[in-house]
């Protein structure tokens, strides 16, 4: 029983993975912007001090040494010193400051 359940779950994972692969291939063939078709965030990091995150979902936590954002892939954690939200709109966030790390938390 337990074995069957596990197999079923694996199957589901497989089909999910296959669909994602197909989409990715489609975007590559058609040269579509990936972040929109796949609905994933796009991060642009300029040097160590300027990070732009497009296609995010919301702010979970913000202070000068840590920013956590909700994205479709999970939580994106940015750590550093003197972090400032330079600009924020419904599509993108611009984080300025001394950025030390980026981490995705599932």
């Amino acid at each position: 029983m337990g074995v069957g359940k596990r197999r079923k779950k694996r199957d589901k994972n497989n089909t999910e993975g296959a669909r994602r692969g197909l989409r990715e291939k489609m975007t590559e063939v058609l040269e579509l912007p990936k972040e929109i078709v796949l609905n994933v965030p796009r991060l642009t990091l300029i040097g160590m001090s300027n990070l732009i995150i497009e296609n995010y979902k919301g702010i979970i936590e913000y202070d000068s040494s840590r920013v956590r954002l909700n994205t479709s892939l999970g939580i994106l954690k940015i750590t550093g010193n003197g972090l400032v939200i330079k600009e924020i709109t419904s599509e993108d966030v611009m984080v300025d400051g001394d950025i030390r790390s980026l981490e995705f938390q599932k």
């Binding site: 919301g58 702010i59 913000y62 972090l83 400032v84 939200i85 600009e87 924020i88 709109t89 419904s90």
Partner: protein, 397 residues
């Protein structure tokens, strides 16, 4: 980025301090309601500062209540606030308006008339013609009919081949092109000879009309007949006819002069003292500013005119003439031997050059120094090739 900042400045924005425990929630709600925020800085656990547009600020009260945050204004920035502050100062507004009005008023007149392209025709002549047609400094620039001016100028002055008139800013630019002069008529019916204008050694004779009397290699003296207008026909009667001789006689000529070498020289020495006179120019009228009258005994004056202007074309009728007088005194200086020779030679050379015709070709220059009776002379000898012919009427003087 600069453009964005300028835009924000023009729209005006408020710097606010938000205090509470659900600051992230506050930001999220703002964004969902399309309120733009920027420069968000976390100050402490429970406070942050951010910038928000005026319109956005008016809409955040309900959000603050919902997230139980307190909002305080830290500063107001931008043009709307500045204007608001100055709204009460009536004199300032009136002054600003008057300034704009005055600039507009002053730039609707013609203040400067520029004439270019004229060589023989005097600028004053063209200005006078324009004045007769009603164009002078101080007239309204609107309604100037440039075609009428062009035609008028062409009619008044037959020496003009082309005229262009353009009104730019407070300037009227008149560009003219002069007619090319008709060449001088050769009076062929008056018989004449060509005689030598100066001594020389003939190198080439080109007779176009008349009979050659000298040939290459001859030495001629001043006044000698070179090309004769009396032509003897080569027939048995040997009849003579008179023609207007035309031709060129090229000869080597020498120009020489000497001058004793000077030992002292009078020089200007500026004392470094200067005085300035100012003259105000308002609407073409000059007002000399009263200043100390006592000038120096010997002085040189440089004059500079400055005009109030915006760019090249918007010249205002206010100007200032600055006359700078610098005092000097004459000093007698003893020259060293070498310097004395050089100065004398240069002076002499230039003096000799003055005698030489512009068309003459200089082929050789000799400079040396000779001593005679204990006096040193500088000597210059210039050799030229030039047309030495000069017309003389036959039967006249």
């Amino acid at each position: 980025m600069l453009l964005l900042r300028l835009w924000n400045f023009l729209r005006g924005y408020v710097i606010i301090i938000v205090e509470g425990y659900f600051l992230e929630k506050f930001i999220n709600i703002c964004i969902r309601r399309q309120i733009f925020l920027w420069d968000i800085k976390r100050k402490s656990n429970s406070t942050m500062t951010l910038k928000i547009s005026i319109k956005g600020f008016k809409a955040i009260r309900p959000i603050a209540r919902k997230t139980s945050c307190r909002v305080r204004i830290k500063g107001k920035r931008g043009l709307p606030f500045l204007l608001n502050r100055y709204r009460k100062r009536k004199a300032f507004a009136v002054g600003a308006f008057l300034f704009v009005a005055l600039v507009y008023l002053l730039t609707s007149f013609v203040w400067v008339i520029e004439v270019s392209g004229n060589e023989r025709i005097k600028k004053e002549e063209i200005l006078n013609s324009l004045r007769e047609m009603g164009i002078k400094p101080g007239v309204l620039k609107y309604g100037i009919d440039t075609d009428y001016l062009v035609n008028g100028l062409m009619l008044k002055n037959s020496d003009l081949a082309w005229v262009g008139v353009e009104v730019r800013g407070t300037k009227v630019k008149v560009e003219v092109e002069e007619r090319i002069l008709r060449p001088e008529m050769v009076p062929l019916e008056i018989p004449c000879d060509i005689i030598a204008e100066r001594d020389g050694f003939v190198t080439k004779v080109i007779a176009k009309a008349g009979q050659e009397k000298v040939k290459e290699g001859d030495t001629v003296t001043r006044g000698q007949l070179l090309i004769s207008g009396t032509v003897v026909a080569d027939n048995q009667e040997k009849t003579t006819g008179l023609v207007h001789a035309i031709g060129e006689v090229y000869a080597r000529t020498w120009y020489e002069d000497r001058q004793p070498v000077i030992s002292t020289i009078q020089e200007k020495e500026f004392t470094g003292k200067t005085k300035k006179d100012f003259t105000l120019v308002l609407f073409e009228r000059k007002f000399k500013l009263p200043l100390r009258r006592n000038r120096f005994e010997l002085y040189e004056t440089t004059t500079r005119r400055e005009n109030l202007r915006i760019g090249e074309y918007f010249v205002f009728p206010f100007g200032i003439i600055i006359e700078n007088h610098s005092e000097y005194r004459m000093v007698t200086r003893r020259l060293s031997d070498e310097e004395a020779r050089e100065i004398t030679m240069t002076e002499l050379y230039e003096k000799v050059l003055l005698d030489i015709d512009e068309d003459a070709e200089i082929v050789d220059v000799k400079k040396d120094f000779i001593e005679e009776n204990g006096v040193v002379y500088a000597r210059v000898s210039i050799e030229c090739i030039e047309d030495i012919g000069m017309k003389r009427e036959i039967g006249g003087n």
